[in-house]
Symmetry: C2
């Protein structure tokens, strides 16, 4: 998988400034990963390489990596975090799940709660959902006027540019599943008592608005895939392909960042441990 | 290691209300773990069991586990988090390192910044240092008047009781290393260029106050090991013993909590995925 990451970035990235049609992307694409079990084993190895790169990022203490995960219900956001980042451990990684905003959060602009939890230098921050909900559910459900939504795309691009200019590298992944796959996963949550707690009747209401959501995603991808914070559309009907692709891209990005152990300005010989 | 956790809780816990002498605890105690490699392998297995228990805690969503790590410089707080919680992954685990308080934090009471980051229900929170710094370094360095420090022990006990009464189980670990072991670890940070970034000249100043710190720890253990939030003194000169002991105690505690998948109040047959 050495250079797989770079290839996948090229293949899956939404090219900034070019018209993008979500229908051109197949949720069942295998991305060149052939064999299920071998890929899983390789992903585990890549996960450990990410862990080692994260150690260097932490030691360097100068830059952060922000990974944004978006996707419809059941698209596998939690599963991605487990599959790609479990080996990294919690020391230099923080996960934030954005749920329905609280009264206090709603009393601020929509980027306020997001900014507050952006990752510290030296760490990886993972957003399970994000400020993009404010141009997705907010758009589909009409939580904000059209003109307000319209303004947000540029506001988000500006916000993200500011973050990148201040040392945060941003990777955005849309977990792309088919409507058929979602049906199977929702049904599983109804059939398996151990998954009942994951089921939310509201998910069925959102499912009825499938086409509206896909449209909102497409607009988001067209408007907010920028040179500084590009979107990647990840084929996610197959969980092992999803994890393999994201792990490869994260690894390639960290390698490109090439964090280094800081050089110190003092001479070890000047200190004596007594 | 099945019942090892319970035995170790009995052995390593500081009994509430009984006079405690830190000199009675040997930092090189092997806690009955015999063989280095076999213990490491077993600890990895326990780490995965903790991961499975954490999944249930997350699903249940009713209670939290707060793990507090304290210990002198180089006692292995980061290493413990890696060794015990790396398999748990970042999804339901948050780590907070408490450093020198900021101006804004100092403008509040000392428990304010701690309360703000206590773990959410369903998650494990790990504190790398904690409010106990306010009766350790604050005492040794005289950052607060004696009477203020004196009041804090009861304040902390009350605060922690409130947390436990509201669903947070608290486990406190003091990583107990010998002065000789600390010398070796500090020297390593001077000798190994890859560890230079971990070296802090201030650590040598604190080392000169070794006895004062040990006294402050002893007072803290005597005053703040309570029935609801007990302290455990972990022999930490051997990293593999330290990790094995803490992993066993965490696992036993989660098993005792016995989180369960929530029963839902609706009937799966009432829903149809279309």
């Amino acid at each position: 998988m050495a250079d797989r990451g770079k290839e996948l970035i090229e293949k899956l990235r939404v090219k900034p400034g070019k018209p993008f049609d979500l229908k051109d992307r197949d949720p069942r694409d295998k991305c060149g990963f052939d064999d299920d079990e071998a890929t899983k084993t390789e992903t585990e190895m890549v996960a450990h390489e990410i862990d080692a790169l994260q150690d260097r990022l932490y030691a360097e203490g100068q830059r952060a990596l922000l990974v944004i995960l978006q996707g419809t219900d059941t698209s596998g956001k939690d599963g991605t975090i487990r599959g790609v980042f479990n080996a990294t451990g919690p020391l230099g990684v923080s996960v934030t799940a954005f749920r329905q905003p609280s009264e206090n959060e709603l009393a601020h602009d929509y980027l306020w709660r997001v900014h507050a939890v952006c990752p510290k230098r030296g760490t990886i921050g993972i957003f399970n959902r994000s400020h993009y909900e404010d141009v997705l559910i907010a758009k589909v459900r009409g939580f904000a006027p059209k003109e307000t939504i319209e303004q947000r795309y540029a506001q988000i691009n500006d916000f993200e540019r500011m973050l990148t200019e201040n040392g945060t590298v941003i990777l955005k992944f849309m977990l792309h599943i088919s409507k058929k796959e979602q049906a199977e996963r929702l049904q599983e949550r109804l059939d398996d008592p151990k998954k009942h707690w994951k089921f939310n009747a509201g998910d069925l209401d959102d499912r009825k608005l499938w086409d509206e959501y896909q449209d909102a995603y497409e607009t988001m991808l067209n408007r907010c895939s920028t040179a500084w914070a590009p979107w990647h559309v990840i084929p996610a009907d197959r969980k092992w392909v999803r994890n393999a692709a994201i792990a490869s891209i994260v690894k390639a990005t960290l390698e490109e960042m090439n964090p280094t152990y800081p050089k110190v300005s003092w001479d070890p010989k000047d200190f004596k441990v007594v």
